[in-house]
Amino acid sequence: MAVLSFFANPHRFMAASKWFAWGFTVLGASVILIGIYIGLFVVPPDAVQGDSARIMFVHVPAMWLSLFVYAFMVGASLISIVWRHSIADVAAKSAAPFGAAVTAFGLVTGSIWGYPTWGTWWEWGDARLVSVLVLFFVYLGYIAIWQAMETPQKAARAAAILCLAGAVNVPIIHYSVEWFATLHQTAMNATAEFKYPMYVVALGYLSLFGGLTLINMRAEIMNTRADMLAQRKQAAAG
């Protein structure tokens, strides 16, 4: 709670986040590169799928992040609804583009992996693939609602409500898609050796997410300030 109210002040947030924003971004990008290096050159090819399974090292962590970012937005939206916390609004808004991007990236890499493995670019019978597609549309709706509303305060409320409604419905959507699915691709029984590049890349994504979201939040706050300054200038001139 103390942390929450401390950061409700944008000035404190700006001062504290200055170095973290770029630090997390650079750290995340480097860790991702290390993870990709391990995945491409250190780990031996998969016994069944050969080299094509290596795309899993960037695909699986992207799928984890697509859910993690949404969970982060749900948390921020809850804080925003309960305490009318202005930074929480900015956080949820700033996280959404990364969430949508990582979800789209997961869908594309999944589809590229699916072609040599399943023989098709897109398999409607795979529940996870289809649920993630729905999640992608939820992200798009969330981003659209921020852009459609007239005032930022109303947009923040509406977006938070949509985010929470999505959180309640996404599990139900997932299970209904599973019911619909006929072809179940069970989780890869990867060996530990095969899994650890995924964890490295996931940590990299996480750090990159933190950094890019902070950069986005800072830009958003500066934008609000610039608007206020412009209004003040106009008021003084007129």
Partner: protein
């Protein structure tokens, strides 16, 4: 409760006396189903494969049509403000309005459904099931749609946003309802999809008015 009921009766009267506004989605539903054979082919076999699914999509889209004006008209002319000051509670108002619009539009959609079903080469003896599925399905579509309707009430061009926001919420109803229609078309077991469609509808009815009320309170701020 009596307050919500008077909102409900007012909405119902307005919907039925509003110059055919409530009948427009029915026309859309009929037209959308009627142009299907031009796209998928008019052969009986083609229609048996595509018909139930296309009909279910058309029902979902027809249910989306009234959503843009569901709360918007009352927000613009201040009725919503008057409701908010009446002490009824926004949840009750959202529920009453959505229910009234479902009765005015959803039930006619379900009544015309078997005609379109037979046109799309569905077996006529399944007509009662088609009415049942359409009733339950349109209720789910209306109540999930009311969340998007409330969120977009304050926007001038909210219609497309409603579709983008609401269609993901339609997925469970889409899956179970269409599965049910295919089941009754082929004489397969229909009880499970019927119950699951009902569950989706009940879930929508139980939860949507809270989200819609929250969005409406933001809109009138």
């Amino acid at each position: 409760m009596s307050g919500s009921f008077s909102v409900f009766t007012r909405e119902l009267k307005l919907a039925w006396s509003g110059g055919g506004g409530a009948a427009l989605p029915v026309g859309f539903f009929a037209a959308a189903c009627s142009i299907t054979p031009f796209a998928v082919g008019s052969g009986i076999e083609n229609l048996k494969v595509a018909g139930p699914g296309v009909m279910w999509i058309a029902l979902a889209l027809a249910s989306l049509l009234p959503m843009e004006r569901l709360f918007q008209a009352d927000l613009e002319d201040g009725t919503l403000d008057a409701y908010a000051g009446s002490g009824i509670g926004m949840e009750g108002i959202a529920l009453a309005k959505t229910l009234a619009h479902w009765i005015a539009t959803g039930i006619p959609l379900a009544i015309i459904a078997p005609v379109l079903w037979i046109m799309l080469q569905g077996p006529p003896e399944a007509s009662l099931f088609v009415i049942g599925f359409s009733l339950i399905g349109s209720a789910a579509f209306f109540f999930f749609g009311s969340i998007g309707a409330a969120l977009a009430a304050g926007m001038r061009r909210g219609g497309l946003l409603i579709a983008l926001v609401t269609l993901p919420l339609y997925v469970p109803t889409m899956i179970f309802g269409a599965a049910g229609l295919y089941a009754v078309a082929s004489g397969a077991e229909w009880a499970a999809p019927l119950m699951l469609t009902g569950a989706a509808a009940l879930f929508g009815i139980a939860t949507s008015s809270f989200a819609a009320a929250m969005a409406l309170r933001t809109a009138i701020d």
